[in-house]
């Protein structure tokens, strides 16, 4: 699913990842941890082409990321579900429209997209807020909408950047359960950047720790 071969990444002028080598297999649940500024978010961003590689080879979902063309980058992103710490929901869109976004981008028609959005709203237990706007929801609810959006187009890979960073414990648990279900029941590969791995996660997972630009698997 993801293959990194001697990749180097920098954030601004600062080098954050040096010659990292790792492999993430299809169906894996991976946590990427590390202290603030260690480069874990930078690494995740490189998986969906938001940060360019300085050197090395990176293969994500059959797409080679070095010097990737605009068209191929779009194709890569269309096959990934992304969850952000700040939710990144479109405020002018209703909850349903936000969930429908990846489907519409992938060329699904309105009826099919709406049905899928409703199905996912039921899945994340937010069926009654479909016509609401994101700013009318709590942080936990917004992140559930973001998870629904990430799952909407049946991606093979979900990338989550601190998905519970802004949430209380209860809301965080809901999000972890949703991600676990996606991995367990749908076989989606999940890569999560987080400060803290939840206790009693109840699912086998791999953990990559970033320290001083090096990546260690533990």
């Amino acid at each position: 699913m993801i293959l990194a071969d001697n990749i180097c990444l920098s954030y601004g002028k600062q080098d954050v990842i040096h010659n990292a080598k790792f492999r993430i297999y299809s169906g894996d649940f991976v946590f990427i941890t590390g202290s603030s500024g260690s480069g874990k978010s930078t690494l995740l961003k490189s998986f969906y082409g938001d940060i360019k590689l300085k050197s090395g080879k990176l293969l994500v979902n059959k797409h080679i990321l070095a010097n990737i063309s605009n068209q191929k980058l779009k194709s890569l992103r269309k096959g990934i579900g992304i969850i952000f710490q700040d939710y990144k929901l479109i405020q002018e869109y209703t909850v349903e429209e936000n969930i429908m976004l990846p489907l519409k981008i992938n060329g699904y028609n309105d009826t099919l997209s709406l049905n899928q959005a409703k199905k996912l709203l039921k899945h994340v237990k937010l069926l009654n807020v479909g016509k609401s706007y994101p700013n009318e929801l709590s942080g936990g609810e917004q992140q559930r909408v973001a998870v629904a959006r990430a799952l909407s187009h049946n991606p093979k890979l979900i990338l989550a950047d601190e998905p519970t960073g802004n949430l209380d414990d209860y809301s965080a648990d809901v999000i972890w359960n949703l991600l676990k279900k996606a991995n367990e029941q749908l076989g989606i590969t999940v890569v999560v950047v987080t400060h803290r791995i939840p206790e009693h996660f109840g699912l086998s997972f791999r953990k990559f720790d970033i320290s001083k630009g090096e990546i260690y698997e533990s």
Binding site: L73, R77, K78, I82, I90, L101, K104, I105
Partner: protein
């Protein structure tokens, strides 16, 4: 918010289209006037030998419409009885050839001067006379108005382009976050910019309808706006707008909107 953007797109477009209509009207008036005065206008060329049409056509400034040989027989017949046979046969030999030349377009004074010079340079041409009556001043004035309106139209066209492109840039700035989210999900700039494309297209259609509607109203209510003298001039010199001209109003509005919006979209796509 969209209504505000819609209005800020439409106002410069409407302004530009009104100037375009004025430009079209002036052009039509000048063309009609040219055709009218062209009928009253001719150049008379006096030559010692018969003229060859192709030689006149070769002259760079002469846009020849017609060359007519003025029959000498009629002139000779009129004076035959007053002359002795010897004088008549001498006159028959010596009488030059007369031609009237009509041009496709009414020439300006400077062009006429050039035409005269070129015609005089043709071998056998003895003299060239022009009779322009008193059209020249009115024609020059019309040409001046046409030039001023053309310059004004170009200026308004640039102004409209700048206003619309600024509006599109502001829209992009206001919707940056949304466009970024769409891009992160693999959507294109064109997908994200659908609302502004719709605003641009619909405002250009509406602007055309407003301007064409105004033309229709003006055409049917001339007496409310203009004095009878002006109406007379309008009716003589300004033929009604045909479908092609109305389509050109619509096309110029649409093309300007599309070029402006897509130009900025492509710029964003390349970033």
């Amino acid at each position: 918010m969209n209504l505000k953007r819609f209005i800020s797109f439409s106002i410069p477009l409407i302004l530009m289209l009104y100037i375009f209509v004025i430009y079209l009207s002036i052009t039509k008036i000048v063309t009609n006037y040219e055709q009218t005065i062209n009928k009253d206008y001719s150049i008379v060329v006096v030559t010692s030998s018969p003229i060859v049409q192709s030689k006149i056509e070769e002259l760079p400034s002469v846009d020849l419409k017609e060359i007519t040989h003025l029959k000498r027989d009629k002139i000779l017949k009129d004076i035959k009885d007053d002359l002795s046979e010897g004088s008549f046969s001498l006159l028959q030999k010596r009488l030059p050839y007369f031609y009237t030349i009509s041009l496709k377009q009414f020439p300006t004074s400077s062009k006429l001067k050039k035409i005269k010079q070129e015609l005089k340079s043709v071998s056998g041409v003895k003299s060239v006379e022009t009779f322009s009556k008193d059209h020249n001043q009115v024609y020059s004035l019309l040409l001046l108005v046409k030039t001023i309106v053309s310059v004004l139209f170009c200026a308004i066209l640039i102004f409209t382009f700048l206003v619309i492109s600024n509006q599109v840039k502001i829209w992009f700035f206001e919707h940056k976050e949304r466009l970024d989210i769409i891009k992160l999900h693999g959507g294109s700039v064109f997908y994200g910019a659908k609302p502004i494309i719709i605003i641009a297209l619909s405002s250009s259609i509406l602007s055309s309808i407003i301007v064409i509607g105004t033309l229709y109203l003006l055409n049917h209510n001339l007496s409310f706006i203009f004095t009878p003298e002006i109406i007379e001039i309008i009716l003589i010199h300004l033929t009604p707008f045909n479908i092609l001209e109305l389509l050109s109003i619509f096309a110029i509005s649409l093309i300007l909107s599309i070029i402006t919006v897509f130009g900025i979209l492509i710029k964003h796509r390349l970033r």
